[in-house]
Symmetry: D2
Subunit: 339 residues, 4 copies
């Protein structure tokens, strides 16, 4: 892997997120290029590769990894395909930026943790892009500096305008609240030890069989309590807010800002309509930082451990949601590689 | 010399709240005058009465009620004294504005409800003054109009700078969260059916033996879920916020406003330091509206039922706090007088 | 005039403002009652008086002043009638709260100043109610304390949704900007020495012949510069904002606050639709403070000097508006009575 | 090793802004590389070039332009050196991103306009980076869409914490207000036709001989009026705000946002301390967009005409500042190349 020079990235999976990452690396990211795209749909892969100079198309991740042009992998295929791709990457000792979730469940995430330990060094960064959002980064700095003492509680809201067909209550945990799971663990530097889910009478705007909204509660290893409103059919846009309540002060991000207007008897601003709009900069920064680190031969950002912990807490959350009671989240002891 | 039609009010209890109500009726409220003050400390009562034209001092509520100058009672004595005073007021059929709590527990509140039913008409308004705050009133109007559909959740924060000596975890429910209990019941027009209390590791700023902050959860008869942060030693001031999450929109009150400054690398405003500062107008408006209604021979505002329901939920809350589990709140069937 | 007891007020003029003051004194103000109403329309006066206990109706201010029930005057008749009414009040040595403007021009205001000096003590408070607005009061305190050093500039915006028929460019100065004239003089404790008016191409929403909006500039005796946007057909509501730029910080009032909503892709709040909505509390507080002071035998608040200075600056402003050039505002030396 | 199609940029001048642009192109910008750096200080140039693969050092702009590795120029040398460098770039027909000001005065800017017309196509983009700020871009879109009708006024504030030694009143126009000059012309799509400068008594925090703050007024060809507070020793940070007052609504950018804290009796956020902090993203986006356009063989963004117009208005502004009167700004007829 070149220490100098442009990083050749293979993007695995070219669906919505994958195609966006191809565009990002091609047009936004400094110091990297799309060397390969991989998709089981050969035609789709080829049509993308043809538009980018020096980019090859593959249908198998392994084939791309074997190319001398490929220095690193960005995995954006569906979650169930992640484990195999990451294991192959370990064989080639290639750095990986793996879209969240690391894998769909804790057991498979644990297998990756074991494999990475056998490899002996970290290779995987998980795509929890909120860690690269400018406001969340400021909040993290404030908490790390203990400016207001220890964090005692987090209040989180996570709202989507609406859900695509087939969205389930379990996905509210696995696909949506998983971000608050990582945010909680990252901001507090603590593991989540128990989950409780409260389900109010659903909104009439929610699709049938979807219990929306829900209130998800976390307890952490350091004794903090976290409440998360997850509301995926709020109708009015995409809103992510987080307030950290500390011993001598509180700090919030995600409040309204930007262009303010007054007209027709109202003042205010626009609510972004989806996560791409809200977190576009965070996605750009995430990939850029991963490329920069990879070119230096380093690894930083969320690890397999973070992917595993999120998966384990999601499992507890889905269970808590189903049985309507507090459920503990059990983690293995943290391996030395991830300390 | 009082103009004809002016309401003669006896203020029972002249501690912090009582003395403030005396000042309010004397200097702020239109259409009323302080006709009597009652305190077990005779000297204290006399020194206040002497400063107000036409005001008599008593040590017994009953003596004041017997005076022809007294048209109505404002009870601001300690909670345990409320029941006897209200019962005596019923004997004289006098209108009462009773500071919260109505009584210290549900059983005694129930006795007042029974007595008022025997009396046959409402005489008591309970001092839940948030119902008279301009911002909360706007929120109530928006919810009543179902502008954004049904309310699904409330997120509440209730913070005090610090607590006086002797403040207990139970008082966090009975004296502080009781406001959110009434706010929830009033805003949603539903009863609270269950309470859960989560206790994070206390702040080091909290006095020993005080589990501060806490997260209190309500479930309501209409299926709504409410979370309340109660943090009575937050250090930085007095903050009360409430967000109603509805089917097609959310609405918040209690956000920062007023004088905005930029200086020394910071922008922002002042945080009020106590509830008198934050809710001064609500207190004024509460007494004014009570006086106005009383002079018209009417009764409005929070009733004995509201006082009883708050007491019953407080009992459930204190229990939930102690046992660390969800506790149901059981209410008697709502009597016709309060429908 | 009674030092104790309820203040008997005669309200002169029962148009929009006058009728509102009658309601205020009758229903809101503590310590005062409407003893008399005066209107050239006898029937109108009588119909109001009939609804208030102990209130008499008159068609002549002098007749009301002669009544033993009248302790003080609130003048809310049209501006041209103020001079005569105030002079008569001086004859009866009665305290006066006079709606702005004191008089319609500087010459007549000066005659009142001379008369009040002959009387030998202040009797008149002018109705610049912004001085009683909670936010403006906080701004004044900050400036008086020189928290951020000396004020160097003020930026003001004054917007109305729309104007009634017959509203002229001159009225934009005399009826609207007159508030910023008083605000400037009060906040800075300086006189205005020159006025410049810039007239952008009018809004198509402005009535024909109305040059709306305009930018009005003040220079003050202490070397401060003030810009005022006056826009009386902005369409979206009533907005009054003021930012004081000081040596080490800036401070603003009038920013958005209150109930915040998120819905239909927008977040924000309501813009009040007129000055009664925005400044209701200031009006209440103004009259209350005047009653309180009058009952103590004192006079405070904006004086005849403030009314005269506003009139003189309005004259300079109307002139600057007409000739399109900077115009100096000349004041007589400030008499001892007003220092 | 640069990928094919990568734009080789020579950065002329490696002072504060130049060094920052070198870092930007090397680390942030996609699709470009620093092929050469030019500085009269040969050692400085060499030490920078040595850290970047494939980057050569020069002391003469002409020498860099002659290199086959150089595809485009980013000029960040002092303003007086811009004219010669741009003229040489025209000889080589190279695309140029020229830091503002285009040149220090209108006459020299006009010479560049004439030379670019002789060249027959646009080659120069001027570094008015606010046009790339996310919030200003939203404001521009709203104005272009005439969402609230025509813009009637702009209110602008431009504040710096403090000035370096040697900063003059003229520089307040030429270096600071020049941004509002471009913002006004860009947002309104109109030329500025007259300038007036008002000078309040300076802040005691201002260095001797610096008349700080000032209020600068623009009148535009479309009849709009613009006021600009320029305050370069405000002490508390860097603040840039702009409100467009339109026929049926107003729109503002630059208001406070980001991380909100409550502590020690205050709520609020941090004020950025300089323009790099506030406009970092705009700088990144500006260079990226210039690189993208240049690689497509196109030119967009602020032109020589914009540079000339800014210089001409600055001249009028400095004159207005000196004589204390309104000064007209005269522009040549806009050449076809810039329409």
């Amino acid at each position: 892997m070149p220490q100098q020079g442009t990083l050749g990235v293979a993007v695995i999976g070219t669906g919505r997120m994958g195609a966006d990452h191809v565009r990002r690396i091609d047009e936004v990211t400094n110091g990297a290029r799309v060397a390969a795209v991989v998709d089981i749909d050969a035609e789709r892969a080829k049509s993308i590769a043809d538009r980018i100079e020096g980019c090859s198309a593959y249908t198998e991740p392994a084939a791309a990894m074997a190319s001398p042009d490929v220095d690193a992998l960005l995995i954006a295929s569906p979650g169930p395909a992640h484990e195999a791709a990451v294991l192959q990457a370990f064989e080639h000792d290639l750095p990986v930026l793996c879209e969240k979730p690391l894998t769909p469940d804790a057991a498979s995430a644990l297998r990756l943790i074991e494999a990475e330990q056998r490899l002996g060094h970290r290779r995987v960064q998980v795509g929890f892009m909120r860690r690269y959002d400018a406001d969340f980064t400021r909040l993290k700095s404030l908490l790390d500096a203990k400016e207001f003492g220890r964090a005692l509680m987090l209040h989180c809201q996570h709202r989507n305008a609406s859900t695509p067909p087939g969205f389930t209550s379990q996905m509210m945990i696995n696909d949506s609240v998983v971000h608050e799971i990582d945010t909680t663990r990252w901001l507090l530097d603590q593991e989540i030890t128990a989950v409780t889910v409260l389900r109010p009478t659903p909104s009439t705007a929610a699709p049938q069989n979807l219990s929306d909204p829900q209130l998800v509660l976390f307890e952490t290893s350091g004794g903090a309590v976290v409440d998360v409103e997850i509301f995926v059919n709020c109708g009015f846009g995409y809103q992510v807010r987080c307030e950290a309540v500390c011993e001598t002060g509180s700090a919030r991000v995600g409040e309204e800002s930007g262009l303010l207007t007054s007209s027709a008897g109202r003042w205010g601003g626009a609510v972004p309509q989806d996560f791409v709009d809200r977190f576009a900069d965070a996605y750009d920064r995430q990939v850029q930082r991963w490329v920069d680190a990879t070119r230096r031969g380093e690894i930083e950002g969320p690890s397999c451990w973070d992917g595993y912990a999120a998966a384990a807490v999601c499992e507890a959350g889905v269970n808590a949601q189903a049985i309507g009671r507090r459920t503990t989240a059990e983690l293995i002891e943290r391996p030395a590689l991830y300390r």
